[in-house]
Symmetry: C2
Subunit: 324 residues, 2 copies
């Protein structure tokens, strides 16, 4: 287990700082929404998330010759979608978690009703932001000289690309992606020990593919889509995303068993809830081997991007060695 | 109190039938999502809704020279958004309603977790459909000859118009619209009798404007947007929508007090929950007068559309005379 290597850490920091700044600005400059709602949304958005998904959107765009500011609203949007899914997932009717990253969950602080609506609000706002991506100017942090050197059609993704981006993200987040995976996850409670082993294995793979990998791979794909990249580049980034998405979920399962409770904030929650996990089904060693295999596949997918894909290569390694 | 006049009823029937058929097809031809999720989504989508919002999208498009098939996915999308909001609104943590339109609510039948996810799934699918509106061919019901006579750019809204449509709908449905209104509605519980009357009145108007009128007026606006209508036409339809949206909510408050329980399915729910309503604050007669005034304003807004706006004129009348 390692912390993030310094090159990747600095890459992550610069990109996630842009995202933080944009998120902060997006949820503070507007005054009309009710205070409690904005506070609940901000509470969960700024509760210490790793910003993995928005950084993936940016990294994919950079792989395709773009820059962070061109996809920043979409990067914020995927973080909002991820955050809404955590808020709803933690609800008493779902996983019933009191803590998330060591802090009380949204419904513990603001009550269930506000937590449900904060999730709904974040999901809806995500699509509003993606729709604005087409005409948003780079107001967050881009050096002026860089903007002036870029043609406006490069700075602003085209409406067609934005439409396709919304399709890709909604598909990864919806009933055939993340939401579908959460339903499968609920159905899987308690069946890992007593049920049919082969059945459980099939179900587990579906859960991992839908619940986590679908949105992560959409993040990669959408970075390419917004930059108008070739279908080959788009498919390569999508495939990379599917591999690291699965590896990420397997690593999460491993961390749930062996991770440092303080760093994780909620270790053992899956075990408590008798969830079907990779570790429960295959044991820790087999889970690690599977994650390693997926990371190799992820590296393969990036072949054609050369140097520009360095952060994504590093990230693939980090995903299975991280300790939180 | 009257039932729907026959001209309007037949208009409503032909348009809502298209919507029903499309919704049915959209949620049955896909096989990958978990069954319980699809069943829960279908259960609430086909629980006897009036299809007001999708018909408004279509009627607005027709006012601007379009036809139903050109906006059908967006019409389905707004019905999904409306349905998700009802599912979440009925949850124990929110209004805690066991019945909706005389039937057990989604969470009573499928459990809270599935109800939350069915809502999330419908909201996400709505945006996926809107993104598909740009390239969807008129596969539902449009007579072939009619399609062949129309240029493809007329049949398919442009990507820019679709992006703007997504912005309009997400804005009406989100934290500055419907979701924000639901938070204000929660905050208003119990304050209509004891609190500051002027404060209560201001809050009530904000609730009505956000919770119901925002999405309804977005439905009208989006019909114009998708048809590439002039900004004048767009503003007129939006204004019509704001007026009938408020009138609709006031009529709902009146029906909650005096409506036929069998027809409404949940009469008295607001009174039970001590909600701040127009009738509680102003009495039934003043509420009726206010609704009538709003309907006059709605008629005014339609002036420039002539004959094409006949269904919208009829609808404005019906909204305050309906008995369910």
């Amino acid at each position: 287990m390692t912390t993030m290597p310094s090159g990747l850490a600095s890459y992550f920091e610069t990109r996630s700082r842009k995202v933080e700044k944009a998120l902060d600005s997006l949820l503070s400059r507007r005054s009309e929404e009710p205070n409690s709602l904005r506070e609940a949304m901000r509470y969960s958005l700024f509760a210490g998330g790793k910003r993995l998904r928005p950084v993936l959107v940016i990294a994919a765009a950079e792989c395709c010759g773009g820059m962070a500011d061109q996809v920043l609203f979409t990067a914020c949007a995927v973080e909002m979608i991820h955050t809404y899914s955590l808020i709803h997932d933690d609800l008493p009717a779902m996983d019933n978690d009191d803590l998330r990253r060591g802090k009380p969950t949204c419904h513990k602080v603001f009550g269930e009703a506000i937590a449900i609506l904060a999730g709904d609000g974040l999901l809806t706002l995500a699509f509003e932001l993606m729709a604005q991506q087409a005409k948003v100017s780079s107001k967050f942090d881009a050096p002026k000289s860089k903007i002036q050197n870029l043609k406006s059609k490069i700075l602003h993704p085209s409406p067609s690309d934005c439409i396709e981006a919304i399709r890709v993200i909604s598909s990864g987040a919806g009933i055939h992606g993340m939401v579908g995976g959460q339903v499968e996850d609920l159905k899987a409670e308690g069946i890992h020990i007593n049920g049919n082993r082969q059945e459980a294995q099939k179900l587990l793979e579906r859960i991992h593919r839908h619940k986590t990998a679908a949105l992560i791979s959409s993040c990669l794909e959408v970075g390419a889509v917004l930059m108008g990249a070739s279908s080959k580049a788009r498919a390569a980034l999508k495939s990379y995303g599917q591999s690291i998405g699965l590896a990420f979920q397997i690593a999460d399962d491993i961390l749930d068993v062996i991770g440092d409770k303080k760093k994780m904030g909620k270790r053992g929650s899956d075990t408590k809830n008798k969830k079907l996990t990779y570790t429960a089904l295959h044991g820790i060693e087999a889970a690690r081997a599977q994650a390693t295999l997926l990371v190799q596949k992820a590296h393969q997918a990036l072949k054609s991007f050369g140097e520009k894909a360095a952060p994504l290569h590093d990230l693939a390694e980090y995903i299975i060695t991280r300790d939180r």
